[in-house]
């Protein structure tokens, strides 16, 4: 049983208090959405969870150990996808995927075509992303979800730019992951429902939660 928790978190950006006294605790199978208006600190909260932003007050714990104490052990367990796709326009889809795969540390060979088929981009192996639409780029960025073995997923606006079919694919992936004991935290503009899985949610308003 693993546990991800946040204690008494406070975040100040540019002298504005984004949130204060935030507590959160998630166990295996937990699914959490963070929603709120632009500038309410959704992305900041997600980045704090992933350990990108260092905090001054409060702590982020993974299995009751502060994530800064065993950083690489923690990083071995997480997958973070920001609102940017982190793909290179001048590398082909396959080349991009190879790099993503190598960074996960997995030794097995990847089957490009299978993954691309699952994400709905069959036959685009040799295409350069600069020729692709925003939705396709987002899908390519989200192929990380197929290649990772991490238990904790932090997804910043995963459904952005995706069409209905794409949203469904990602939703199913997330549900599958959580059903198998993974933990997912994602952000959205608007509160959304996910069918067939219990979903916690927090809403960020300015200055209070």
């Amino acid at each position: 049983m693993s546990k991800f928790s946040i204690n008494n978190l406070e975040c100040i950006r540019q002298n504005n208090i984004l949130f204060k006294g935030l507590n959160l605790s998630m166990e295996d199978g937990g699914l959490l959405q963070i929603n709120g208006a632009n500038g309410s600190g959704k992305s900041s909260l997600l980045q704090i969870c992933a350990g990108l932003i260092q905090i001054t007050t409060g702590e982020v714990l993974w299995n009751n150990i502060n994530i800064n104490q065993r950083r690489y052990e923690f990083q071995n367990n997480i997958l973070y996808i920001g609102h940017t796709n982190a793909i290179k326009a001048t590398l082909t889809v396959e080349e991009n995927m190879t790099i993503i795969h190598s960074l996960t540390g997995s030794k097995s060979k990847i089957n490009y075509s299978t993954i691309l088929k699952k994400i709905g981009m069959s036959g685009m192996n040799k295409i350069f992303p600069y020729n692709m639409s925003a939705g396709q780029k987002r899908r390519l960025g989200l192929t990380r979800l197929f290649m990772t073995k991490s238990k904790l997923w932090f997804l910043d606006e995963p459904f952005n730019a995706l069409d209905k079919e794409g949203k469904k694919i990602i939703e199913n992936l997330i549900i599958n992951h959580c059903a198998k004991g993974g933990i997912t935290i994602f952000t959205t503009h608007q509160k959304m429902e996910i069918d067939g899985y219990p979903l916690q949610s927090i809403h960020l308003r300015n200055n209070n939660v």
């Binding site: 950006r13 540019q14 260092q54 001054t56």
Partner: protein, 244 residues
Amino acid sequence: MYKWIHQFGSPKYFYDISLHLSKWVTIVCIVCFIGGLYGGLVLAPADYQQGDSFRIIYVHVPAAWMSLFIYVILATSGAISLIWHIKITDIIARVSAPIGASFTFLALSTGAIWGKPMWGTYWVWDARLTSELILLFLYLGYIALQSAFDDKRIAARAGAILALIGIINIPIIHYSVEWWSTLHQGPTITKLDKPSIHLTMLIPLILMVIAFKTFYIAIALIKTRSEILKYECNSSWVKKILGN
């Protein structure tokens, strides 16, 4: 150690201590300054080689020492804030940098003024002056980097890295410049370095060094206090102070 640092790093504690400290530091500074000036400008006999022009030493040398000293402060407080994330050291580094830059400028300009009667020109590519000039560039870079950030915490930590790299680099810079200047000029200018100095000349120099050091501390304390007030403007103790 950790606990002590955190207690010392607590803004309120530092604020209270610094108020007491400020008083004493200012008194020491004024006494040493007057004593040093009187000793240096009136009591000390003229140098047998340089005549009265050597009296510039009483501002040049303390300024040069302080310019290096403050850079060391930048680097050490940078290291502390990188390791322990302490606000006070962030603030100390930020307020010290302009003071350090002004001392570096002072050391350079008094050095150049001194150079005119000594070497016949204002600027000589002497190893010490050249490294001092590069030190000024380092200070300016540090200040520019800090002011480019909106978030002061990030600015402090980025500055800390720069200061640490700078402090590793300073001995290398100094050595390389010395290496270069001996090759180009030969070791001609040693008058500035180690004058076998008479006691009546030395005591005012020591007084002036103390005066400059306490001056820096006094100014840094004033600036640190106002920065603390800005940081902590929402806490109750600050409101209490401002209420009075």
